[in-house]
Structures are given as structure tokens and as C-alpha cells.
Amino acid sequence: MLGVIADNWDLFITGFRNTVFLFVLAGVGALLLGMLLAAMRVSPVPTMRLLGSGYVTIFRNTPLTLVFFFFAFAYPRLGLIDVSFFVRAVLALTVYTAAFVCEVVRSGINTVDVGQAEAARALGLTFTQTLTEIVIPQAIRSVVPPLTSVLNALLKNTTVAAGFAVAEAGQIIPTLSERGAPVLFGMAWIAIGFLILVFPLTATQRILEKRWSVAR
């Protein structure tokens, strides 16, 4: 079993390095875009709400493979700026995951009771104070666990990029089979690799949950 990873060290290293790059870049992008969409979905402007929910409905019901398909094969035909497969993979993951981030953040805001904001306003707090002192601290608690699972899913979803010419962790198995190496052991190592990558995510979640678990 050690032979597989020793003989194909290059493959595992580049694979997981690219996976981490994809994950970090797409994660940051999806969080930003997702929060913007969530802000639109809870805003008092009907057209913005409509735009936000339209985006979410479309991307939640599109297979990620199709989004990748579009960025990999259709995007170059539009004669826009020419970017590498890697950048297009980041874009595909970002626009797809943002829809899920949006839903998580929105439902987090919705879990805060209306009475909380009413009480805050009755006490004379301004809008900014209400938002930063009352609403967001409460919303964030219910957002963290599902957000962790969204990021976890994003980490696993980065492997779809392997099908579209990005050499990352998903690409390891086909290459191993090409090299005639025992794939079963390769699979075990990939599983271990993903468990290691998931660990910081779940650990962060646990720490945050512990910190915020104080009476609600």
C-alpha cells in the first residue's frame, strides 16, 4: 500500500495541491457571491429578491457537470478573455456553490425572531447597531454548521474538475490505472487525503459552535 504513494508521489502531490487551490479560491469566491445574493434575497427591493431567488433556483437545479461543461466547452466560443481551464474551473465551482451559500445565509437570517429587531429598535438602536449587535450574531450561530457542510461538499466537488483537464485529486485514479498501479490502494490514499482536508473544516466548526453554544 505504501508503494503506490511512494511510486506516484508526484501525482498525489500535484493532485491534492490543485484541489486545495481550487477549494480555497472557489470557497472565497462562493462566500462573497453567496453573501451578496443572500443580501439581495432579504432586501426590501422586490426586483432584487426576484433576481436572487431566480439565480438560486437555476443553479441549485443544474448539475455541476453541466456548469463545468458550459465553462469548458461553450465559454471559449464566446470570444471573451481567454483564461486557463483552472480559472474556468474556479468560476464554475464559484457560481454553483454561491447558490447554496446564499440559501444557508438567508435561512440563517430568517431564524432570527422578528421580535429581536423590534426590541432593538424600541431601545433606540440604529439600523447598523441592530444589524451588527443583534441580528448577525444570532444568525451566524445557525449559519456555521450548514455552511461547513456546504464547504465540505465544495471540497468534494472540486474533483469534477478532473473531468475537464484540471489535474487535481480526481485525476489520480485514471492516471494510476494508466500507469498500471494498484488502484484500490490509490483509492484508500485519496480517501485519507480527503479526510485530512476535511478535518480543519470540522474542527473550525466545532470550535465556533462551542464558543457560541452559550444560552440562546
Binding site: 432579504v42 426590501p44 427591493v45 422586490p46 426586483t47 433576481l51 433556483t57 437555476i58 441549485r60 437545479n61 443544474t62 448539475p63 455541476l64 457537470t65 453541466l66 461543461f69 458550459f70 466547452f73 461553450a74 466560443r77 464566446l78 470570444g79 471573451l80 456553490t97 447554496f100 437570517i109 430568517n110 432570527v112 425572531d113 422578528v114 429581536q116 429587531a117 429598535r121 444589524l131 441580528v135 454548521p145 450548514p146 457542510s149 465540505n152 468534494k156 466537488n157 472540486t158 474533483t159 469534477v160 478532473a162 473531468g163 485529486a169 480526481g170 485514479i173 485514471p174 494510476l176 490505472s177 488502484v183 484500490l184 490509490g186 483509492m187 485519496i190 480527503f194 479526510l195 476535511v198
Partner: protein, 288 residues
């Protein structure tokens, strides 16, 4: 509409909201207009690029591809439900030697990305002399992954039935088997049905991964038609058509899930919502 974030808008807020709304619309129109302009510049609206839709052979091929997608979905969904049920029963077992291996298997299978699993079945299994072929590589991958997710949903559903139900059933002298079949499952099914259907949406979306191992499903067909030189390589028109088909299928299933959930909420006295703490991490509704 009252929200936690703002009151009913007054006259000034209404004007401001209208301005924001207008800006948003202008932004959207600009974006769509730009994309449309790029489509127009690169000649995507040319009749030649859409002509393939008129050919009977290609139409039939498209229907066959749709059939292939639906076949993978149907077989995968059926098997995943069975596997999920078996895993859930094993995990709910009181015998440690049944429960522990099942728990490990579920955690392990959920942790592996589905793409890696499918590649493993497709490229790795032949090394052990097991030739699954594209269809079964895809379906088995969908089954074990979604089966283990469904197992967690089933387990959470059964555990969400109030404890008194189980205790009362035991007090009446029912056996373990009877308690599960006659008391717990019927109540659990109603609460978990929406979650199960949303997981089936994920399975349907994941079936598109068959494209990566050349299973002749919708995306594969889109790639093929998109490469036909006689229609000017219409990859964008085919992507639009196939995308519409996928989104329609998934939205239909999602609407069913939403309907079931609303029905549950209406009858809250009988049906109980699944506490989110139980399903957290299980149902982000994210597939690939």
C-alpha cells in the same frame, strides 16, 4: 412585508427601494444584453447552428440520451433507497457488531467524492477482473454514495419520532420488529419524505457525472452534437437545450419536494418536522 431587518417602507424608503430596484434591473439587462451581444457577434443565433433540432435522427438520439439519463437515475434511485434502508436498519440495530461496521461504512462512503468513486469503479475494478461497464460504474457509484446519505436521513427520521411512541408500543407488548414497522416507520416516512425527494434531486444531478466516463447521457450527446461541423459546431445551442432539459427535470422534482414539505407543515399536529440538528451535514442538497 415585515422582516427582522426592516420595517414597512415609508415614502422616502419606497423611492429609494424603487431606485435600487431600477438599478438592479438595469444591471441585469446590461448583463443579459452583453451575453446576447456576444452570442450575436459569435453567430450563435445563426439558423445553421439550430438546424440540428430539425433532424429526426438527432432528435431520436436526444430522446435516447434522455432515456439513458433517466435510466441511470431510476435504477440508481431504486438501489440507493434499498441500500439506504439496509444501512439505516443496521445503524439502528442494538447489536454493536452490526451497528459499528455499518456506521463506519456510511461515514467512509460519504467522505469519498462521488467522482473518485465512479472513477474507481470504472478504472480500478477491471484490475480485479470486474468489468462493470459505464452504466453500472455510474449506477453503483450513485447507489453507494446516495445510499449512505439516505441511510442517515432515514435514521434521523426514525430518531425524530417522539420517544413516547416507541415506549408506548413496547409497553403494549409489541416486538422490536413490530414497533419499527407498525409505529416508528409510518410516522418517520412522512417527516423524511421531503428530504428524501431532495436527495433524489441530488442523485439526478449527479447522474450527469456519467459524462466523465463517457456514459451516453444528455451531456455526452450535447458534446457530440456540439462537435458536428455541418451545423457549425453548435456547442452553445446544444448546451442551452440540454441545460433546459436538466433544469426542467430537477425543478419538477424540487417542486415535488417543496409540495411535500408544505403539506407536512400544514399538518404539523400529526407530522413533525425533522429537527435540523439531526440532518445537518447530511442534506446540504448539494450534489455535483
Amino acid at each position: 412585508m415585515t422582516s427582522v431587518l426592516y420595517d414597512l417602507p415609508g415614502p422616502r424608503a419606497r423611492v429609494r427601494n424603487r431606485t435600487f430596484g431600477f438599478t438592479a434591473v438595469v444591471g441585469l439587462v446590461t448583463l443579459v444584453g452583453f451575453i446576447g451581444y456576444r452570442f450575436w457577434v459569435t453567430d450563435q443565433f445563426a439558423g445553421r447552428k439550430w438546424e440540428w433540432l430539425l433532424y429526426k435522427d438527432l432528435q431520436l438520439q436526444l430522446v435516447a440520451a434522455l432515456g439513458a439519463t433517466l435510466a441511470a437515475f431510476a435504477v440508481g434511485a431504486l438501489l440507493a433507497l434499498v441500500v439506504g434502508l439496509l444501512f439505516a436498519i443496521a445503524r439502528l440495530s442494538e447489536h454493536a457488531w452490526v451497528q459499528a461496521p455499518a456506521a463506519t461504512a456510511v461515514e467512509f462512503l460519504r467522505a469519498i467524492p462521488l467522482v473518485v468513486m465512479i472513477f474507481f469503479l470504472f478504472y480500478g475494478a477491471p484490475q480485479a477482473g470486474l468489468r462493470l461497464g459505464v452504466f453500472w460504474s455510474l449506477v453503483v457509484g450513485l447507489t453507494v454514495y446516495n445510499g449512505s446519505v439516505l441511510a442517515e436521513i432515514f435514521r434521523a427520521g426514525v430518531q425524530a419520532v417522539p420517544r413516547g411512541q416507541r415506549e408506548a408500543a413496547f409497553a403494549l407488548g409489541m416486538r422490536k420488529n413490530q414497533v419499527m414497522r407498525a409505529v416508528l416507520l409510518p410516522q418517520a416516512v412522512r417527516t423524511m419524505l421531503p428530504t428524501v425527494v431532495s436527495q433524489l434531486v441530488v442523485l439526478l444531478k449527479d447522474s450527469a457525472l456519467g459524462f466523465l466516463i463517457t456514459y451516453p447521457e444528455l451531456l455526452f450527446d450535447a458534446r457530440y452534437i456540439g462537435s458536428l461541423a455541418e451545423f457549425g459546431r453548435p456547442i452553445i445551442p446544444t448546451a442551452i437545450v440540454i441545460g433546459t432539459v436538466y433544469i426542467t427535470l430537477c425543478v419538477a422534482l424540487s417542486l415535488l419536494a417543496g409540495y411535500l414539505e408544505r403539506r407536512n407543515r400544514r399538518r404539523r399536529h400529526s407530522g413533525r418536522e425533522l429537527p435540523t440538528t439531526h440532518v445537518r451535514g447530511v442534506t446540504a442538497n448539494l450534489g455535483a
